[in-house]
Amino acid sequence: MSGPMVDVRGVYKSYGSLDVLRGVDLRVEAGEVTVVIGPSGSGKSTLLRSINHLEKIDRGYVTIDGEFVGYRRSGDRLYELKERDILRQRTHIGFVFQNFHLFPHLTVRQNVTEAPLSAQGRPRDQVEALATELLEQVGLSGKAGAYPRQLSGGQQQRVAIARALALRPKVVLFDEPTSALDPELVGEVLEVMKALARGGTTMIVVTHEIGFAREVADTVAFMDAGRIVEQGPPPQVLDRPRHDRTRAFLSKVL
């Protein structure tokens, strides 16, 4: 399929009377990195959570590699999928949380191998080998037997990234992956993410790290009040923003 890897079209979402997403369009090509920036409460996290159907959207649709997320299309109708099918779809979408959400009662290795074994039913020896390889990739080979609470925040987030990658997803979504970290630990997580981007992983990253956006992103999207106000290559959006709201936001964070 030659369409975009991730296609978000006209997505609306509201909680009661609060409109969080008000018609969001976003296209991400395979192998590209899109960084979403914007003030708190602008709907960035909700957008990300809508892409893997952790949030059910009110209108519009999301496709990953041409497949509707949360729905099955038949003619011009969308049928809501059962939970089991939604769970299967999510194995194609990696998700990295702000607060890691590692499973505290499982070792680092078990955290990484759990989903490939139970959600994808892949053979154990293959999954174990993959876990070894991924932990090495995020620089935590020596910590395979440790429990998450024995690790620093930066190490925990790197395990969470390895856990997301273990599913061999088509796209990885990062929801403010460094916001819960002490400043000196941010760098190690961003390094891992940069290496992923260089390796051709399709990524959508919600972050406040403008430096990361400038260095790694193919596209930067600025969100405000539930809409994508402008998007384009980093130099265009970050250095020559066309909208006042983008300019106002950047002047505060830069």
Partner: protein, 322 residues
């Protein structure tokens, strides 16, 4: 001025040559002495008063009829707890489900079985045959495939086990539900984001973390039930409490026989408490940075430290400890 003088004095000396004198705490010693005297008095009162009838206690403690009764008490407890927690877990999951009918039925069950005293519930089950003579299995509201008499299906032992289990299930349901609610919602979100199947999410992610708060409460319940089984004496079943009553009605040694029962209840709850400690350790994995040492391990460490100190003392021949 004097402070700076002292500072110079101490820095001039090598740190090793200074002796630390522990602060004296006479209050602690006095309190300890009082409690020790009280303990001695209690022990004395227990041992020297012939009314406790210790020889009779010794004679009946391992009497076959008593041992059988202990075994039966253990059986009732095990049945009550295992069936109670199985049903309780189902009820808790119903209550937490998003299906309103399931949730309200679970709520109603807990309401009913917590509200009626256990002794009353047991008598209802015991007298079930008076309410329903036949119990039929078949299509609901339709034809029955086969029927059995209530008396044949639910004898006194089954009635007792069933009564204890159904009552226990109401409490177990709330304990299990509390355990599930104590798990960080982020854990479920992460499991859902990873696409882990729903049943696996419950068994592998939620339950082990819920167990941390379930186990202490469940320990209470099991120990409560060990003693709670004594209420089935009203059904004339030969559990521990009923059995000692039978014996003292025959030989008149009431106090001694009650002591026999008390000792066995103590033994059973002690074993369970020790078991609970290790189960808690098992589910504590990963939740603290390091597991606390077991008591056995702690005793060994204390002995090792003592031994090392003694060796040092005999080697140095010093008089630092007087």
């Amino acid at each position: 001025m004097s402070a700076s003088f002292v500072l110079e004095e101490t820095t001039a000396e090598s740190a090793g040559s200074l002796t630390v004198i522990r602060a004296r705490r006479p209050g602690r010693w006095a309190a300890g002495a009082v409690v020790a005297v009280l303990l001695a008095m209690a022990a004395n009162a227990l041992v020297t008063n012939p009314a406790w009838d210790w020889p009779v206690v010794a004679a009946y403690l391992f009497h076959p009829s008593v041992l059988h009764a202990v075994l039966f008490t253990m059986e009732l407890t095990a049945l009550g707890i295992v069936l109670g927690f199985l049903l309780g877990t189902v009820l808790a999951l119903m209550r937490l489900s998003h299906v309103p009918l399931l949730a309200s039925v679970a709520w109603g069950y807990v309401w009913l079985f917590r509200s009626v005293p256990l002794i009353l519930q047991l008598l209802f089950w015991y007298n079930l045959a008076a309410l329903y003579k036949q119990i039929s299995f078949g299509v609901p509201f339709g034809p029955a495939f086969f029927s059995v008499g209530s008396m044949d299906l639910i004898g006194p032992v089954t009635a007792a086990a069933l009564g204890l289990a159904l009552h226990q299930a109401a409490y177990a349901a709330e304990i299990v539900r509390g355990g599930f609610l104590s798990v960080d919602p982020g854990q479920l979100e992460a499991a859902a984001a990873l696409g882990i199947p729903r049943a696996r999410q419950i068994v592998r992610i939620q339950l082990p973390q819920a167990m941390r708060s379930i186990v202490p409460a469940a320990g209470n319940e099991i120990i409560g039930l060990v003693k709670g089984t004594s209420v089935v004496y009203i059904m004339a079943l030969p559990e521990l409490f009923y059995q000692v009553q039978v014996i003292y009605n025959r030989n008149g040694r009431v106090i001694a026989m009650l002591l026999v029962a008390a000792i066995w209840y103590l033994v059973l709850t002690t074993v369970l408490s020790v078991g609970q400690y290790y189960v808690e350790r098992r589910f504590g994995r990963g939740l603290a940075r390091a597991l606390p040492p077991t008591p056995v391990w702690r005793v060994r460490r204390v002995l090792a430290v003592r031994r090392a100190a003694r060796r040092r003392r005999s080697a140095g021949g010093g008089d630092e400890e007087r």
